[in-house]
Symmetry: C2
Subunit: 256 residues, 2 copies
């Protein structure tokens, strides 16, 4: 479904939702020579001016945004606001068939929703870039990214067991208020880093990973079950330890 384009083609890309991830993507796409316009709930006009992106207010200028000549429209809103943002859009203003690309971190939900609301003649590419402003702060090239095609459901299943779980542990560590000590182990340092990186993403993003991925609830339960198993093993060992201790004390008493 993707439109093919050589890296030398300059595309006209419209961005819906100019938050931190879209800004991060924009910087690279501008370097690649594409022409960008953006629309967003908040007023990002000053930032856009500095970057060289034309900004359209989501309240006054969406018609102009959609009516302009976009090869691609990238949907970069938060997971939780997708329907709220896209439903009221006057999509009849589109002048020609357009390739829509969504970058939401869950995939079944936007696919199902966008297939319902987008004009029939549009193309849709459901993508989840597996990096962000943090992991990609030195560019994407170091990350050795490859394009991986898979069913949306398979993505969500795997993402629940990996990304959602990782964010959950990062947020648990944040709630625990863990901090660097003068005696960090390497493992603990990796948890400190995880905590810091996780809370740089919005809670909106995190709750989207949970509420809009039907596999996430099960993984939250699996995490709780695993915690209880580990706890039980410690408690079993504690009881065993006390039994040993008691029998040693008894033996000592018998000897005296």
């Amino acid at each position: 479904m993707a439109s093919s384009s050589s890296s030398s083609t300059n595309l006209k890309i419209g961005i819906v939702g100019f938050g931190s991830f879209a800004q991060f993507l924009a910087k690279t796409m501008l370097k690649q020579g594409h022409f960008l316009r953006a629309t967003s709930r908040s007023d990002h006009s000053e930032l856009c001016l500095n970057l060289g992106v034309s900004f359209f207010s989501a309240f006054r200028d969406v018609e102009a945004f959609l009516g302009a000549d976009n090869d691609v429209i990238m949907i970069c809103t938060s997971i939780m606001s997708l329907t709220e943002v896209v439903k009221p859009m006057p999509l009849h203003c589109l002048k020609r068939p357009t390739l829509f690309v969504d970058v939401l971190s869950v995939k079944e939900f936007p696919k199902n929703f966008l297939l319902q609301v987008l004009p029939e003649e549009s193309d849709l590419l459901c993508a989840h870039p597996m990096f962000g402003p943090e992991s990609g702060k030195n560019g994407w090239k170091d990350l050795a990214c490859i394009m991986l095609q898979m069913p949306c459901g398979e993505h969500d299943k795997m993402a629940a067991r990996s990304q959602f779980l990782t964010h959950t542990i990062g947020r648990i560590l944040y709630e625990m208020e863990i901090n660097s000590t003068p005696m960090n182990t390497k493992g603990f340092e990796s948890l400190l880093l995880l905590k810091e990186n996780t809370v740089k993403d919005s809670f909106d993003l995190y709750s989207g990973l949970f509420l809009r991925n039907r596999y996430a609830k099960q993984e939250l339960e699996n995490l709780e079950l695993a915690f209880n198993k580990v706890k039980q093993k410690l408690l079993d060992k504690m009881i065993y330890d006390q039994d040993i201790d008691d029998s040693m004390n008894n033996k000592e008493r018998e000897r005296n």
Copy 2:
């Protein structure tokens, strides 16, 4: 309390408990030119022969081990077996005042116990090397280790919030059976590594971190509390989300 020794001094070091951590330490100490002898529950005589360490069976040869000329005796047993190993030792066989060094990963417990049972004229250094066979597999030098002096209680408090917590999360991830996916994020990769490294340490070590550190139980509770907080935030968001959805549906119904 430590005996001072320049790095050019060759020490005669006796090791009690020749498990994986002691073996790891031994390799470096041998390179530094020290003379090593070891005693252990299991028969490590063949390994010792290969390394150039004299081995004394814990059942037949402890008297000879203690009676030999040791500048230092390092206690490298598991936390859980410390008392069981040291209590029956015929410490009267020691020919002279000896510096004991324990390397257990908890500190109040061995300090209190060893001060009770070691001969009065011995010195005791309670140490916790913050690296192991994994993090130090390319030597200690890369780790930029520094010697940090602190009260044993302070150590245990910090270790419960850092090391014990890290091991607990590693073991939870192990119980969950997380595995690499074709779409790992950097954060998830650090958790995979943590899982793998954690379970390389024995469960005996892990349960010692819990049972012989009086601060650990509280941190296990803190982890559970933090988990419940994160879960509650997700459930709150879920309820809020359903309310929004209901009111949107109602509005739509009213409109029709």
